[in-house]
């Protein structure tokens, strides 16, 4: 097998940027949360690739932590979404602008 490490990282970068683009484009908050998941996952890919490149287990350990974080984030994020939906009656983030300075 002869896959350069850069290709793996390239994949991570592309996934990350797609996630970012989605985050910026979409106004539905569920989609935004999905895009965040994509980005987190992309970061995880980068860790695993790097870990594989140097033959270290650290990359995988980090991925597990990211996974834990993503799980926590999703649980809170989804609760927030439910709350937002109850308060505003929609999932459009442009309606949730009460925190303007």
């Amino acid at each position: 097998m002869n896959i350069p490490m850069e290709y793996g990282l390239l994949l991570a970068v592309i996934l990350f940027c797609i996630g970012l683009a989605g985050l910026l484009i979409r106004r539905n908050i569920i989609f935004m949360l999905l895009c965040i998941e994509i980005m987190l996952n992309a970061a995880g890919v980068a860790f695993v690739v790097a870990g594989a490149a140097w033959g270290q287990a650290e990359g995988q350990v980090m991925f597990i932590f990211i996974l834990a974080m993503a799980a926590a984030e999703v649980s809170v994020g989804l609760a927030l979404i439910i709350q937002l939906f109850k308060q505003t009656g929609s999932l459009d983030v442009t309606n949730a602008n009460k925190m303007k300075g």
């Binding site: 910026l24 106004r27 935004m32 602008n97 925190m99 303007k100 300075g101």
Partner: protein, 623 residues
């Protein structure tokens, strides 16, 4: 007996305290007994102490406790009795007791009867502290304290804002003098490391050379204090307004005792003035100028109490003149006699005013001599004394001594003598103008009642003293009785004379006698039984100028008061605070600017984060 000195001071305070706490629960009679009784007891004690003191006139010091002791300044609460303070406490308690008795009837129907006696008793106590104090700080305590009482009593009928303002004016104007006095304490302490009066007087001649700048400054500052309290030029304007007080107050504070505190102060610190001849000369000049200016104003008043007020200013001017001449005993003698007859005049005037339904205008009185005989005769005796009618009145002996010394003293001059003699002429003129307008002529109104015994007895007692008080000190060519001067000169130095011929003195006595009698005669021609309109007379510009007390009020108002109030008012909002408010405003603007980026749009924030990441990466890769 001397050991009871503290009791003389404490009794009035005790009276005030009892009245203040229990006053409204007592019936009027009890309050009156407490108020009058405490002061009368003081007066009796004073007589007892005084008789013992006459036997042995060495000064007597009674220390109550040490006030404080800081860095060398260790004043005591201590009373020092010597001949000068004895004269003063005698006048204060004795005249004070009489006036209290008078007030008991005069104020009977007033709703603040108790309050009145509280303030009056407080005043007596503080005035006693003033004259008995053995150090300047305690003297200052009494000095300010009597100022407070003066304020409270002038504003006694507080519902009329005019009275309140008169009271305020009196306090503020005298405080100007007090500030000067305070500054003199700084210098005295700096130099002598003490504020004990006797220590300073002993040390001063050895420390300061004659006429040195620092001595001069100190003397002038002391003079400033005296001028304020004694209503002399240029701080005399408060006294005529102070007539808003009830008449007994005018008699006690603004004629007999408090206003003479300045005289006491200068007499007490005489050594400092002797070291500073210019200052002492200024005292004489101020006295001379004041006596003429105030006399001229008195001539044009229609309010009987205002006449007496200006007359008081003028008579204290005589005392200042005497002080300036170094004639200490003459000044104190005139103070004593003046206390009797001026208190009497005010009390008489007060009685007249009260029976005439609070009418102050002399032109609306007239013909009262038959209806109020006791008041008339006592008032006449006092007026004669004030006019210094020769030989028979006490005022003659006291004033003539000053007029004579204005020429004969080594510090005297023709100018001062002229001023004094002109003043004497004016005094007699306005006094008898007042007598003729009030008691003679066509009656304009009927008195409502005759005053009772509590008013008439003090009048008669004081009349006796205004008449007989002069015979204890006679000029050398008329018996040469020198009881007062002997007594005073145990404490204060003797006046030095430049010319010493009895013959010259006789000439001057004749001149002043003629002047007084001539002035009475002139008043008789001008004012006796003349029909005057009852209304306030029309005045031309000159008359108004004199009527308004030479427009000093206007001057001060324009030059000092108005600019001060203007200054205070333009910056009411405090410009410094505005500065901070401005700072806060700018901050808030900046805040608005930055918080515009906080628009609450999640996508906008994400965009900014991404843009930030791009910028940072760009900076890293393409430095």
């Amino acid at each position: 007996m001397k050991e009871l000195l503290w009791l003389i001071v404490t009794l009035p305070f005790a009276g005030a305290l009892i009245l203040a706490f229990g006053g409204r629960k007592f019936p009027h009679a009890v309050s009156a007994i407490i108020g009058v009784g405490s002061v009368s007891l003081s007066a009796i004690l004073t007589l007892l102490v005084g008789f013992e003191f006459l036997g042995d006139t060495t000064p007597f010091l009674q220390v109550a406790w040490q006030w404080f002791d800081v860095y060398g300044l260790s004043p005591d609460i201590a009373f020092r009795l010597d001949t000068v303070s004895l004269i003063f406490i005698f006048i204060i308690t004795f005249v004070g007791a009489l006036i209290h008795l008078y007030s008991a009837e005069f104020m009977w129907k007033d709703e603040g009867f108790v309050r009145f006696f509280v303030f009056m008793n407080l005043f007596i106590g503080l005035m006693l502290i003033l004259v008995l104090a053995d150090n300047l700080l305690l003297l200052y305590l009494g000095w300010e304290g009597v100022g407070l009482c003066s304020y409270l009593l002038i504003g006694y009928w507080y519902k009329d804002p005019k009275n309140g303002y008169a009271a305020r004016k009196a306090f503020i104007v005298t405080r100007i003098g007090d500030a000067a006095l305070a500054v003199s304490f700084y210098i005295l302490f700096m130099t002598f490391n003490t504020l004990n009066i006797q220590d300073i007087l002993t040390a001063a001649p050895g420390t300061w050379s004659l006429g040195s700048g620092i001595a001069m400054a100190t003397a002038f500052l002391l003079l400033g204090g005296a001028v304020g309290k004694s209503a002399q030029l240029p701080l005399q304007t408060w006294l005529p307004d102070a007539m808003a007080a009830p008449s007994p107050v005018s008699a006690l504070l603004h004629a007999a005792t408090m206003v003479t505190a300045g005289v006491y102060l200068i007499a007490r610190t005489h050594v400092l003035f002797e070291i500073a001849p210019t200052a002492q000369h200024t005292v004489a000049i101020i006295g001379a100028a004041t006596l003429i200016i105030a006399g001229m104003s008195a001539l044009y008043q229609h309010d009987i109490k205002k006449v007496l007020a200006y007359s008081t200013i003028s008579q204290i001017g005589y005392m200042f003149l005497a002080l300036g001449l170094g004639a200490w005993s003459a000044a104190l003698f005139h103070f004593m006699i003046h206390a009797f007859f001026k208190a009497l005049l005010f009390l008489g005037a007060g009685a007249v005013i009260s029976v005439m339904r609070d009418e102050h205008n002399m032109f609306k009185m007239g013909g009262l001599w038959k209806k109020l005989p006791i008041i008339f005769w006592t008032f006449l005796i006092a007026s004669a004394s004030l006019s210094a009618l020769p030989l028979i009145t006490a005022g003659y002996y006291s004033k003539d001594k000053i007029i004579w010394l204005a020429f004969a003293s080594d510090k005297g001059s023709v100018g001062l003598w002229l001023a004094a003699i002109v003043g004497a002429f004016i005094t007699a003129l306005y006094t008898f103008r007042m007598v003729f307008l009030t008691f003679f002529g066509k009656p304009h109104a009927e008195p409502t009642h005759r005053p009772g015994w509590m008013i008439t007895i003090p009048l008669m007692v004081l009349a006796f003293f205004s008449f007989a008080g002069g015979f204890i000190e006679l000029p050398q060519n008329m018996g040469n009785l020198t009881l007062v001067s002997d007594f005073v000169e145990k404490t204060l130095p003797v006046a030095t004379l430049s010319v010493l011929q009895p013959f010259t003195e006789l000439i001057f006595q004749i001149i002043s006698s003629i002047v007084a009698i001539g002035a009475v005669f002139l008043a008789y021609i001008l004012f006796f039984n003349k029909p005057f309109p009852a209304a306030e007379p029309q005045r031309n510009a000159v008359q108004r100028f004199f009527f308004k007390g030479w427009d000093f009020d206007l001057l001060y108002d324009k030059v000092i008061v108005t600019p001060m109030i203007f200054l205070a008012m333009i910056n009411k909002k405090d410009i410094i605070d505005q500065f901070y408010t401005g700072l806060a405003c700018i901050t808030r603007q900046l805040n608005a600017l930055l918080s515009a980026t906080q628009n609450g749009q999640l996508r906008w924030y994400a965009m900014v984060v991404a843009a930030g990441a791009i910028i940072i990466l760009t900076i890293i890769f393409f430095p």
